[in-house]
């Protein structure tokens, strides 16, 4: 993901500020010239340690294309919601209801596509999935905005409103079908959840990768040109080159990984038979490519980063988190912004509900149970401060990745579920402690 060099993050260094008194030449200067967010580098380092650690412990079973591909699919739903949770926590609020909103909207889309829409236009209508996703986002958004309105205009704390929401929407999820599971989902809708039908294949994955590289490079260069045009300090040329290389390498690496995870043999055989090809000469290597839910999560991440960094709304969200009174005195309609933040959170829950329901190929009223905790943990592990005003979308998505990596790794190691919870809980507390140390170091 391209990070604009103008940043709200406190960790960004300033090449225009005076050089520190004791000049340490070499690596320190080089890092400063790169203007990398130290905190983000730390997160990526932590993720690398987790990955390499599990790979060693599992005897090489962790860093396989298959495992990484599954990991990315399993992360998608929580990652999508974590991007919204960042904004909620940045404004000094919390949303405990996200798992229940996911459950409720999941039931709504399940009933819509498995019962209501087929009555109108039959099964396998190509528009079914579109209507289902739009409905999930709209219902989730409405639920979130309603909670936001109670928080902003009636002045009830978000902790209480969303704690109530946790119960209300879980109960509502049950009421949609009085507890019955709805299955199966529409064929096209199911692709939103991944699986081999939900992967785009090798060629399109290269196209996506190429587009991502071009977009990132263009963003970096346009930002540089604008800064230079205003006569502001810019990174040295070599540093800009290194940043571009790092971004491109990460994207190409991701494409290579998903393109080396083959579809299972029976699937390939069926595909070939469907095309009337002979399978006598052995089966070719057909790659999965990117999973659709992962592409959705990445698109949400890019969109939310744009929203938080480049729009008025995002600026106001951060300003409210930094100083609510100042935001109000600046003439910002802080109540409306709060309703929008919670509405956005709800809409993202609706989108996650689609991913989760599609992956299960069923809508159950227990879907998303405990997700609120994973989502909040992802945001906080990703560097969102509970004190408000600080957080990044990319960090939260990496946080979701870290949590999912821990869980998958432990599953591979045969760690039982209660122990997994204990580890995840401890990691959360440790992450917040590290954050506290970091913040103290800043002062």
């Amino acid at each position: 993901m391209a990070e604009p060099s103008t940043t709200l993050s406190p960790a960004s260094s300033d090449s225009s500020s005076g050089a520190p008194a004791g000049r340490r030449a070499g690596i320190g200067d080089a890092l400063r010239a790169l203007e990398l967010d130290t905190r983000m580098v730390g997160m990526i380092g932590a993720l690398a340690i987790v990955w390499i650690g599990f790979d060693i412990l599992t005897g090489g079973a962790f860093l396989t294309p298959r495992n990484l591909w599954n990991l990315s699919v399993q992360t998608a739903s929580v990652a999508v919601m974590a991007t919204g949770m960042v904004l909620v926590i940045v404004t000094r609020n919390i949303d405990l209801s996200v798992g229940s909103i996911l459950g409720f909207t999941g039931m709504v889309v399940g009933v819509l596509q498995a019962r209501i829409l087929p009555e109108i236009w039959g099964f396998d209508n190509p528009l079914t999935w579109v209507v289902a996703v739009a409905a999930a986002v709209a219902v989730g958004g409405a639920v979130g905005a309603a909670q936001g309105a109670v928080i902003a205009y009636l002045g009830v704390s978000s902790f209480i409103v969303t704690l109530g929401g946790l119960l209300v929407w879980r109960g509502a999820a049950w009421w949609v079908t009085t507890g019955q599971t709805v299955a199966p989902m529409d064929g096209l809708f199911k692709r939103l959840g991944g699986g081999f039908e939900g992967a785009i294949g090798a060629g399109p994955s290269w196209m996506v990768g190429l587009a991502a590289v071009l977009l990132s490079v263009a963003t970096i260069l346009v930002t540089r040109r604008r800064r230079a045009g205003f006569g502001f300090p810019v990174r040295p040329r070599w540093a800009e080159g290194v940043v571009i290389l790092l971004v491109a390498a990460a994207i190409v690496g991701a494409v290579l990984v998903v393109n080396s995870y083959p579809l299972p043999a029976p699937v390939v055989r069926r595909m070939m038979e469907a095309q009337g090809l002979s399978t006598d000469g052995g089966l070719p290597f057909v790659a999965h490519g990117f999973a659709i839910p992962v592409l959705i999560a990445v698109a949400v991440g890019v969109g939310m980063t744009f929203l938080s960094r480049r729009t008025r709304f995002g600026r106001y969200v951060f300003a409210i988190g930094g100083n609510p009174e100042a935001a109000e005195l600046s003439g910002i309609n802080t109540k409306r912004v709060m309703v929008m933040v919670f509405g956005l959170m709800g809409a993202l829950c609706g989108l996650s509900a689609c991913i989760a329901t599609a992956r299960l190929n069923a809508a159950t009223n227990a879907n998303g149970t405990l997700d609120e905790l994973y989502v909040i943990a992802a945001a906080i592990i990703g560097g969102t401060s509970m004190a408000g005003g600080v957080g990044t979308i990319l960090g939260a998505m990496l946080g979701a990745m870290v949590m999912q990596s821990l869980q998958s790794g432990m599953v591979l190691l045969g760690v039982d579920a209660p122990m997994q919870n204990i580890v995840v809980g401890l990691v959360l507390v440790a992450a917040v402690y590290v954050d506290t140390l970091y913040r103290r170091g800043l002062k």
């Binding site: 500020s17 960094r309 600026r315 300003a319 600046s330």
Partner: protein
């Protein structure tokens, strides 16, 4: 119109701002009690009083932060309804708050333009243009300031105060409220703010200046309003009273002959 001409023609023109018989109470405590003050174009009016006299509360009513329980506000003689900071800004009233009211986690430019961001043709934030203007306006106040990319939390008290002042003067204010604008500034920056006040006055802007430094007020202000325990002790032109007499107004609530007594004047 020059400042002198304006000052001389008070009787003819309507005041730029007038607060009439304004009151506000917080849980039974009358923080502001029946206060009337006014301000003319190109005039600097000092607002004096001891700690807790109600100065900040009074101006916060004018800046839209608080809604008065009672009273009326007029701008250019027209009654206006100021229910929010947005309303006040629409009337051309800009405020430098005593607490500065900065969002600590964003940079100087973001604070200066908070609520009034510059946008690109695409409707996105134009941070570069905002930073360029921030550099210009900060250059007027604090020429050595360089830390444009850091959150204002990382700045010194004086630098933060400069940012708050920059925000207030950048948007063509007609009325500027300065609540202790120099409390955190060093002597050089304080002098710079003094120069700024004179310059803005030349431009016909009316300024309410709240300060505990009576010398500063005598240097810069044309008139003073003195408050005590939420009430107006009196109003005077600085040329008609001495500093000692003003101290008497602040501490004892005693109105000297050169001042017009208000409801809060000691008998």
């Amino acid at each position: 119109m020059t400042a002198l001409a304006t000052a001389a023609s008070h009787a003819a023109t309507a005041p730029l701002v007038e607060m009439r018989d304004v009151s506000i109470a917080f849980g039974g405590i009358k923080a502001v009690d029946g206060v009337s003050i006014d301000l003319y174009p190109g005039e600097v009016v000092g607002l004096l009083g001891h700690n807790g006299a109600g100065k900040s509360t009074l101006i916060k009513i004018l800046s839209g932060a608080y809604a008065a329980d009672h009273g009326e506000i007029r701008v250019n003689g027209e009654p206006v309804h100021i229910a929010s900071p947005r309303d006040a800004k629409r009337c051309g009233i800009e405020t430098i708050y005593q607490t500065l009211a900065l969002a600590d986690n964003v940079d100087a430019a973001a604070n200066i333009f908070l609520g009034r961001e510059k946008l690109t043709a695409w409707g996105t934030l134009d941070d570069h243009a905002m930073e360029a203007e921030a550099r210009k306006v900060m250059g007027r106040l604090n020429p050595h300031f360089r830390r444009f990319k850091e959150p204002v939390k990382a700045l010194s008290g004086g630098q933060r105060q400069s940012v708050a002042i920059a925000r207030a003067i950048h948007f063509d204010a007609r009325v500027l409220i300065m609540d202790e604008p120099t409390a955190a500034l060093g002597p050089a920056e304080t002098q710079q703010v003094g120069e700024l006040v004179k310059q803005l006055k030349q431009e016909g802007i009316g300024i309410f200046l709240i300060s505990h430094d009576i010398h500063d007020v005598f240097d810069l202000a044309d008139r003073i309003h003195v408050m005590k325990n939420g009430k107006l002790v009196g109003t005077a032109r600085v040329s008609d009273v001495t500093k000692d007499e003003v101290l008497g107004m602040i501490i004892l609530g005693k109105c000297p002959p050169g001042a017009v007594p208000g409801p809060g004047a000691a008998a």
